[in-house]
Every structure is written in structure tokens, then in C-alpha cells.
């Protein structure tokens, strides 16, 4: 059992938890993820590692409620436990493997969208601890959904916040901020974009035009997360890759995003039904038979 030591609501439907998981805390690196299960009947849910404390043996996760599984998870409190918490899974971020001196010369831009701020944070923090200041763009739909602003500010070189509706910081999508920064004369050697698939797609279209190599972190459907099921396959540069063992980071300019977005829809109908069942019990079974 993996105990929840801290729970915090970051924004509506977005939660942060510190979970006791000694083995994961000891070995995880920025860029990797975990899979959790709430209870004995729970689904295996892949989650981003947002932070870790090796001494305390804890791992910080951040998640947004999107389906029945995460909704139930959001009801867990401090003192409760996850039945399973496995990781770290996937490969560590390419950045942390690079030579530190050459890294210091690099002009790095992070682009985080929505909950994507969570996986971006440990990378920026790691760079900061290693003497590298990176620029970070954090975008969210609206001010109320913005997360980890203060934490990010503490570790980023420059932090640029933008909201789609202009309720806070700059106004518009993250792509607009990238354009603005480049127009202001900023130059970048590499961009790391993490967020909703559609955001990563448009960031990549733009950075390709701008000639900035871009890394994305994909979160496709997964079952085991260790390379066994192949559910997470994505097409990168025309080749089939498994996000769980080959990724989750890939060259954003080579990812087939349209296919990846289509594949995320595979179980949407069934997930929707599970969500309805959770919210309404049996009442939604009108007996029409159409949804079977």
C-alpha cells in the first residue's frame, strides 16, 4: 500500500498528492511516469511525476479528473492509500542525460499547457538545480485553472503565463506567446512542449516553421506500461514506437499527431458510460438498448 501524505486541490478538478513510494522516489528522473491503482478492482492509471523527494521517499503526482477512475481517485484523502503505485516508467528526459556544460549553453524553452505544467515542472527544477535557466510558457484556459505558477516561478529563468480567455497574464494560446517571444528577438535551441495532444500538435507545427527542434511527451492509452500490451503505440517518423518503453518523449516534428489523437478516442464511449454510471447510478439505463 502506498500512503497519501498530502493532498491539495490545485484548481477545479485538478489535484496534487504526495505519495509514499520509496522505490520510485529513489530512482525516478524528470520525464518519467507512474501507473497507479486505487483499489483491488481499480483501473491502471498512468500519471505524470510532478516532483519527488528522495530523502522522504515520496513522489508527487498531479492529475485532472477526466473519467470515472480519476474521479474516484480524487475522493481519496490524506492518510488513505493507493493499492498500487508502480514506476518509474518510461525513459528519463533527454535533457538530464546531456553533458552539463553543453546544456548550460543551450537556450531552452518549455511550453506547458493545462495539467502539462506538472510534468514540465520537475524538468525545469532539475535544470535550475544544475545551473541552467530555462524559459517557461505556461498556458491555461482561464486563470482559475492555472496551476503550479509559484513553484514554476521559483525555478524558471523567465516565466510567461498566458490564458486562452485573457483572464490572467498574456492573452491567447501558448502558440501566440511563442510567436511573440520570437518576434521580441528571443532565440531557442530546443523546445519541450507538454500538454493536450492538440496543443502539442500546434506547437510543433509552429516550431517546425520557426526551425526550433521540439520534444513532446505523449500520454496515449496504456495498460501495463512496461512494453507488453502495445496499446500505446504511436507513429514517429513513419515507424511504430511504444510510448511506454521508447518514450514518453519523442521528436515532436516526427510524431503523427492526428493518428495519436484518433487512438485516444478508442474507449471514449465506454469511459463515458462508466462516468454516467458513477454519477447517476443505474438511472441512465433507459432500456432503449441503443447504447449497448
Amino acid at each position: 500500500m502506498y500512503k497519501i501524505l498530502k493532498k491539495q486541490t490545485l484548481a477545479a478538478n485538478i489535484y496534487l498528492m504526495d505519495v509514499e513510494a520509496k522505490r520510485v522516489a529513489k530512482s525516478c528522473m524528470p520525464g518519467q511516469f507512474v501507473i497507479v491503482r486505487m483499489d483491488e478492482e481499480g483501473e491502471r492509471i498512468p500519471l505524470t511525476i510532478c516532483d519527488y523527494d528522495r530523502a522522504a521517499g515520496t513522489v508527487t503526482i498531479v492529475f485532472q479528473t477526466v473519467g470515472a477512475g480519476t474521479k474516484m481517485m480524487a475522493e481519496l484523502n490524506e492518510g488513505d492509500s493507493f493499492h498500487d503505485f508502480v514506476g518509474p516508467l518510461g525513459c528519463a528526459s533527454e535533457l538530464v542525460k546531456e553533458d552539463k556544460e553543453s546544456l548550460k549553453k543551450k537556450r531552452i524553452l518549455f511550453v506547458a499547457g493545462g495539467v502539462g505544467a506538472a510534468p514540465v515542472y520537475p524538468q525545469v527544477k532539475w535544470l535550475h538545480e544544475n545551473g541552467v535557466d530555462a524559459d517557461v510558457i505556461v498556458g491555461s484556459k482561464t486563470k482559475a485553472l492555472l496551476i503550479l505558477e509559484k513553484e514554476m516561478e521559483a525555478v524558471a529563468g523567465n516565466l510567461y503565463v498566458t490564458t486562452d480567455d485573457g483572464s490572467y497574464g498574456r492573452s491567447g494560446m501558448v502558440t501566440q506567446t511563442i510567436k511573440d517571444l520570437v518576434e521580441e528577438g528571443k532565440q531557442y535551441d530546443v523546445c519541450i512542449a507538454i500538454g493536450p495532444m492538440i496543443m502539442m500538435k500546434f506547437v510543433c507545427l509552429l516550431t517546425k516553421e520557426l526551425g526550433i527542434p521540439t520534444v513532446v511527451s505523449l500520454n496515449p492509452i496504456m495498460v501495463d506500461g512496461t512494453g507488453m500490451c502495445g496499446a500505446c503505440r504511436v507513429t514517429v517518423d513513419g515507424k511504430v514506437r511504444f510510448a511506454c518503453v521508447d518514450g514518453p518523449e519523442f521528436d515532436g516534428h516526427a510524431v503523427n499527431f492526428d493518428e495519436a489523437m484518433r487512438r485516444q478516442q478508442i474507449y471514449k464511449t465506454q469511459e463515458g458510460r462508466a462516468m454516467l454510471a458513477l454519477e447517476e447510478g443505474d438511472t441512465h439505463h433507459g432500456g432503449c438498448g441503443n447504447c449497448r
Binding site: 508502480v86 501495463d224 512496461t226 507488453m228 503505440r233 478508442i266 462508466a274
Partner: protein
């Protein structure tokens, strides 16, 4: 009673079982088992033992069944096998023990598998367990993977007195026995979980949710956690796909994913939270046991199911019993047929599969006749789900994180067949991680050989 024929085993009716996940084979009762055991002529030079990868004293246990002493029979089996209830159900006896049975020359061989199953079930129902070690050796051994190879190796080492910990990547122990083989062939709670309990009762500890190569490396296990030796039984790995156009369409799954959802995650049970595609018409590509398992699972989930295989029935790698059961249940076999493309609609969902008819040509390197395309024979099968069951390629997680552990050109871990020794001192390996996808019993045989190898290594230290 016809002494040349097996006592028939009771099975669930084909029509009925095609709609449920309860076990197909019902097994022998006491009377039937004793009758079948009486057919054994107790050969002095028993060929059946030579056909068994873990060398169970087969005439020995059958003799006890004949006498009606099932407990004694169980003890005979337990000397050699940690998982008799599993093996009795999933071993390919026809090509191993039963394939060598002298009775089989003139008539049908002794039904060794069904007898083994009877004995194991009888013991389990009465709570009889194998006996553990009397003396402890005070040395720690790590076993990676809790599938058939790992459980066997761990069980044998524990019986010798070693302090054994199994590390399992998934949330549940059992490996392919829980994620791969379906409930209707191998019940999870009643059979697999109980056999694992038996291994634990020998003193074996199981730590789930540990991915070796990620959570911790083999070197760290040996240097920081005090394991004197390690056995790698991490299993097969990444599913293969054909590489044909359209393979990433929505509705194309690997058999591994399909079976893991249904078996490990219990998607077959309507109350489970795990989603699974319940297709209307499903094509399963491949002809092995895993293909049969996926096909029969899809059938039970309500689909019309076709097995699509590029060679003929004779070459099907699946066990004859599995093919027979699949046919009885209504699986349609489209043999000498090979998919060339998967078609999908504008939203990316599978609508069909283009296939081409094949004929058998000259034998290839495997000795089987090579299937050759018949020009102009292309046609389209309408399907909404395609399950690829083409085997697996090795998982690099362990080999890529362990210094000094060498792999062959297929990326399988190199290990000595006789004792499981790898190229790294103190590290042994066996099962699919070494051989590529094979059977439960071969993995068990390798686990057993490695346990012996590890004991010799640690005794000499």
C-alpha cells in the same frame, strides 16, 4: 471399459460455454481418475518422464492414484512441480509426456495431464500444501518475474532453504498465467492464486509493482539489497505487428492487450471498470495458442470470430485440443489467408481487412512449407476488430540496464540451457526472456534448471 481408450473427461457443452467464461474442462472425479490410472502399465523405463521438462515421476504418482492414495500422489508430483494444477491444464501433454506413452502406440496414451490436474485439485480442495525446507541456508536470491519460470525457480530454491524474493512488475503475481491465459482455460482465483499461495507457503516473498531495470537494477539488488544471486524470468515482451498499412487504426489490438484487458483487468466481467472492444466481427491474425485464447475470448464477448492464418491447418502452432475446442465453439478458420491492409473509415475505425489467398510452396528454414501468395486472389473481409497474435520480441528493460548481461541477435538473454547461467556472474535466466515465446512448462523446466544452477553456484561460494 476399453483399455486402449482414455476415460473421457467431462466438458462444458460447447454451445453453452461459448457464452460464458467458466472453465471448459470439468476434470475427472475420483472414480474416473482411478479407472484412467489403472490403464497405466507402470513401465520400468518410463518414457513419459523423459518427455516432461520438469521430470515428474509420472508412473509413481499414477500408481498412487490407482491405489486411491491421492495425497501420496500429490507428494510425488510436488517433488518436481510447483504448479501441478496449472500444468495439468495448459501443458501440451500430447507432444511431451503423453506423446511418449507406450500405451499410445496401439491406442490412446494415458491421460497424464488430466490425472495431474485431478491430483492437484484434490489436494487444493483439502488444503494440502507442499512441504517447505527444514533448514535455512541464510542466503538471499532475487527472482525477477512471477510467471511459470519465476515461480518454479523460487519454489525450488525455497525448498532448498534459500531466502527468496520475487519481484513482479504488474500489480498481481502470476505473469502469463494471470494476464495471458483466459479464465475458461485456467481459473484465476481457484487455481492460479492458490498455486501461488502454495509457493508463498514455502517461504517465498513476492513484491509486486517493481519493474527491474526501472525501479531498481540487478546490480543494485546484488550490491545494495544483499541478493547473492538473481534469476531473470521476465517473460516475452513487446507484441509484434505485421507492418501492413492501417495497423494503427482504432480497433486493431495486440493479443497481449486484448487478453490483458480481459484476464488481468477482468474486462470480461461487466462490473469491471476496464473497457474492452466487444466487436461484432473480429479477425484474429495468427495460429498459435495465444491466437486461440484471443479468439475464444472475443467469441465469449459476443462476436463472430475468424482465425486468419497464412498456412494450412496442419501447420497451426496451437495445441490440437485448443483448435478443437475453438471449432466446437464456433470459431471460423480462414486458413491459407494473409492480411495485406487494414481499412478504416474517416474517423479511423476499422471497417475491414484486405486479405490475399495463399498456397503452400517449398519448405522454408523452419521445415514448414512456405506460404506463397496466389496472384489475383485479394478480397476484403468486413470486420470491426482485428487482433494481432504474431508473437513477441524481447523486452529490453533488463538487458539494457544490466552491465555484462549479453543478448543474442534476437535480443534474447543468453543463458546456458543446462543451468540457466548467463554471461554475468551470479545471474541466471530462463523462460521466454531466453527462448522467445514458448510454453508454460518449458519455462518451468528452465526455472527448475536454474534453481539447481544457482544452488551449485552458491554452495561453491
Amino acid at each position: 471399459m476399453d483399455v486402449l481408450k482414455k476415460v473421457p473427461v467431462r466438458e462444458q457443452d460447447a454451445k453453452e460455454r461459448a457464452t460464458n467464461f467458466a472453465e471448459v474442462c470439468l476434470g475427472y472425479n475420483m472414480e474416473e481418475a482411478v479407472e484412467e490410472a489403472a490403464r497405466c502399465i507402470n513401465c520400468k523405463n518410463a518414457q513419459c518422464i523423459k518427455g516432461c521438462p520438469v521430470a515428474i515421476n509420472i508412473p509413481g504418482f499414477i500408481e498412487q492414484v490407482k491405489n486411491g492414495d491421492v495425497k501420496a500422489a500429490y507428494q510425488v508430483i510436488s517433488e518436481s512441480s510447483a504448479l501441478p494444477a496449472v500444468c495439468g491444464r495448459v501443458c501440451p501433454q500430447e507432444s511431451q509426456c503423453e506423446g511418449r506413452c507406450i500405451r499410445g502406440i496401439k491406442g490412446e496414451p494415458i491421460s497424464i495431464g488430466k490425472l495431474e490436474r485431478f491430483v492437484a485439485d484434490w489436494a487444493r480442495e483439502r488444503g494440502i500444501r507442499p512441504e517447505g525446507a527444514k533448514e535455512k541456508k541464510g542466503k538471499k536470491v532475487a527472482v525477477i518475474g512471477s510467471g511459470p519460470a519465476g515461480l518454479t525457480c523460487a519454489g525450488d530454491l525455497a525448498k532448498m532453504g534459500y531466502d527468496v524474493t520475487i519481484f513482479e512488475a504488474l500489480h498481481e503475481a502470476g505473469g502469463v498465467l494471470v494476464y495471458g491465459i483466459p479464465e475458461f482455460r485456467l481459473p484465476k482465483q481457484d487455481v492460479v492464486a492458490k498455486e501461488i499461495e502454495n509457493v508463498k507457503s514455502l517461504g517465498v516473498k513476492i513484491e509486486t509493482n517493481v519493474v527491474i531495470g526501472k525501479s531498481i537494477t540487478i546490480d543494485e539488488l546484488m550490491e545494495e539489497e544483499g541478493f547473492a544471486a538473481v534469476f531473470i524470468g521476465s517473460g516475452a515482451g513487446l507484441p509484434k505487428f505485421m507492418g501492413i498499412p492501417g495497423e494503427n487504426a482504432n480497433g486493431v489490438f495486440s493479443a497481449n492487450e486484448y487478453l490483458t484487458r480481459s484476464n488481468l483487468m477482468k474486462a470480461f466481467d461487466e462490473t469491471s471498470n476496464t473497457p474492452i472492444m466487444r466487436g461484432r466481427k473480429v479477425a484474429v491474425v495468427g495460429g498459435g495458442n495465444v491466437a486461440m485464447d484471443a479468439a475464444r475470448t472475443a467469441l465469449r464477448l459476443g462476436a463472430e470470430v475468424h482465425i486468419v492464418y497464412r498456412r494450412s491447418e496442419e501447420e497451426l502452432p496451437a495445441r490440437v485440443e485448443e483448435v478443437h475446442h475453438a471449432k466446437e465453439e464456433g470459431i471460423i478458420f480462414d486458413l491459407l489467408t494473409n492480411p495485406t491492409e487494414i481499412l478504416s473509415d474517416d474517423k479511423g475505425w476499422v471497417t475491414g481487412m484486405k486479405c490475399i489467398k495463399m498456397e503452400l510452396g517449398e519448405p522454408d528454414e523452419s521445415g514448414r512449407r512456405r506460404p506463397v501468395e496466389i496472384p489475383g486472389s485479394e478480397y476484403t473481409m468486413e470486420v470491426d476488430t482485428v487482433i494481432m497474435s504474431l508473437g513477441t520480441s524481447p523486452n529490453p528493460l533488463i538487458s539494457s540496464t544490466t552491465e555484462g548481461l549479453e543478448t543474442n541477435k534476437w535480443k534474447c538473454i543468453i543463458a546456458d540451457e543446462a543451468d540457466g547461467k548467463t554471461t554475468k556472474e551470479g545471474v541466471y535466466a530462463g523462460g521466454d526472456a531466453v527462448t522467445g515465446a514458448a510454453t508454460v512448462i518449458l519455462a518451468m523446466g528452465a526455472g527448475k534448471a536454474a534453481a539447481k544452477g544457482i544452488d551449485e553456484y552458491l554452495s561453491g561460494k
